[in-house]
């Protein structure tokens, strides 16, 4: 196992989890923890890297992962895991809940105020599901590229205080394990309902592409069910605009 100084503690004290973190790989530098996981991943494996040279977002967007400043990691699951998107965002929120109140923004960002602190990217290939989480921790505003400064923030820049990436990782993995076991035991509904409440969209009037309407629910895939003048529309993903202020 490769050792990387920031996460050495992670290996010293075993996690109190059932599933997540059965094996932990810590790397100094990797192209992307998701890419590594898609190649080498096994059930329950966690891959964490101090630096990503090619961190990815959705659809080929890059995830800005400055060396040493954030928490970049991936958890591996075998098979298709319904509800994982819900579990991931809730785990991040809950892991940090004693120090800050994070909010979840549909389709799946984690924000403090209006600043995005955390991105989640799940990829499925050949029955392997890799859950990538990027959390900005130590960044100052200047550490982000100018075009991101209005939108992105870190725990230290937004919430303040000092943060320990290793502790955050332990806490997120522990919470994630709890959510994953809950899905296994009780199904997706338990986390779906919690997530739907957290993202605070039900009852809001929005526009998504050509559709304008009121969000009546969020389905088990995370799609918005939009009540429009031409019936209920399902909005699986994409950009939305609030039409009722806020």
């Amino acid at each position: 196992m490769t050792k990387s100084a920031p996460y050495a503690e992670l290996l010293k004290v075993p996690l109190e989890t059932v599933f997540v973190g059965r094996e932990i790989v810590t790397l100094d530098v990797i192209d992307s923890t998701n890419t590594y996981a898609l190649k080498h991943g096994k059930e329950g494996m966690v891959i964490v890297a101090d630096r990503q040279t090619a961190g990815r977002g959705r659809l080929g967007r890059t995830w800005h992962s400055a060396p040493g400043l954030g928490l970049w990691f991936t958890v591996v699951f075998e098979g298709m895991w319904k509800g994982l998107s819900f579990a991931a965002a809730l785990a991040v929120r809950d892991a940090l809940a004693d120090r800050c109140e994070l909010r979840i923004k549909w389709p799946n960002d984690v924000l403090f105020g209006e600043k995005k602190l955390c991105g989640i990217l799940i990829e499925l290939r050949n029955d392997l599901t890799v859950l990538g989480i990027g959390l900005n921790v130590h960044h100052t505003p200047e550490d982000f590229p100018p075009e991101l400064r209005d939108k992105a923030g870190s725990l230290e820049s937004e919430v303040g205080g000092t943060w320990d990436r290793c502790k955050i990782l332990r806490d997120v993995l522990t919470h994630l394990d709890g959510k994953v076991m809950l899905i296994r035991k009780s199904g997706v509904e338990a986390v779906r309902a919690e997530w739907a409440a957290a993202c605070n969209l039900i009852g809001r009037r929005i526009r998504s592409g050509p559709h304008v309407g009121t969000v009546v629910d969020i389905d088990s895939h995370g799609a918005l069910l939009l009540d429009t003048s031409s019936g209920t529309q399902t909005i699986p993903t994409g950009e939305i605009t609030y039409l009722d202020g806020g």
Binding site: L59, G60, I122, G209, H221, G222, S230, T234, T237
Partner: protein, 153 residues
């Protein structure tokens, strides 16, 4: 297939509302067609409904319907979940596959996304992509056919 089976097939076609039957066995393909208006119901039944933004109805010109008919008689690669269909890994990139492409078993043909869960859809067998049944960026339903694929031994 022997003569008697062929006769039986002709009888089935004549007595049904179908306009075409295609059977393949042991490398031989037999396709029977009868004249008459294309059965509009068939493609509608085969392509379960679809994104509200892309209604199936459209103008069923003969040529187009026939094309869909033929594609529908082939095996399809279906959406495993509700989501958004992406033909390429990123905007501006070449599509994973296009109609006419030869694909290998377990080759990625598209991505279906829901909630930033990017599901890479792969072929289950080698073949030729006969038709791409959805548009890039289109919402897709669970089980909706995305590609018609002709198996190649």
């Amino acid at each position: 297939m022997d003569f008697k089976e062929l006769q039986e097939l002709i009888r089935i076609l004549e007595e049904s509302s179908l306009t075409e039957i295609e059977v393949e066995e042991e490398g031989r393909r037999i396709r029977l067609q009868k004249p008459g208006p294309p059965a509009v119901l068939q493609p509608v039944a085969m392509v379960p409904v679809v994104a509200p933004s892309a209604p199936v109805v459209a103008d069923p010109s003969a040529a187009e319907t026939e094309e869909v008919d033929e594609a529908c008689s082939l095996p399809t690669i279906d959406a495993p979940m509700v989501g958004t269909f992406y033909a390429a890994s990123a905007p501006g990139e070449e599509p994973f596959v296009q109609a006419g492409d030869t694909v290998e078993e377990n080759q990625t043909v598209c991505i279906v996304e829901a909630m930033k869960l990017m599901n890479e859809i792969a072929t289950k067998f080698a073949g030729i992509i006969e038709k791409v049944l959805v548009e890039n960026g289109q919402p897709v339903e669970f089980g909706q056919p995305l590609f018609a694929i002709r198996a190649v031994e």
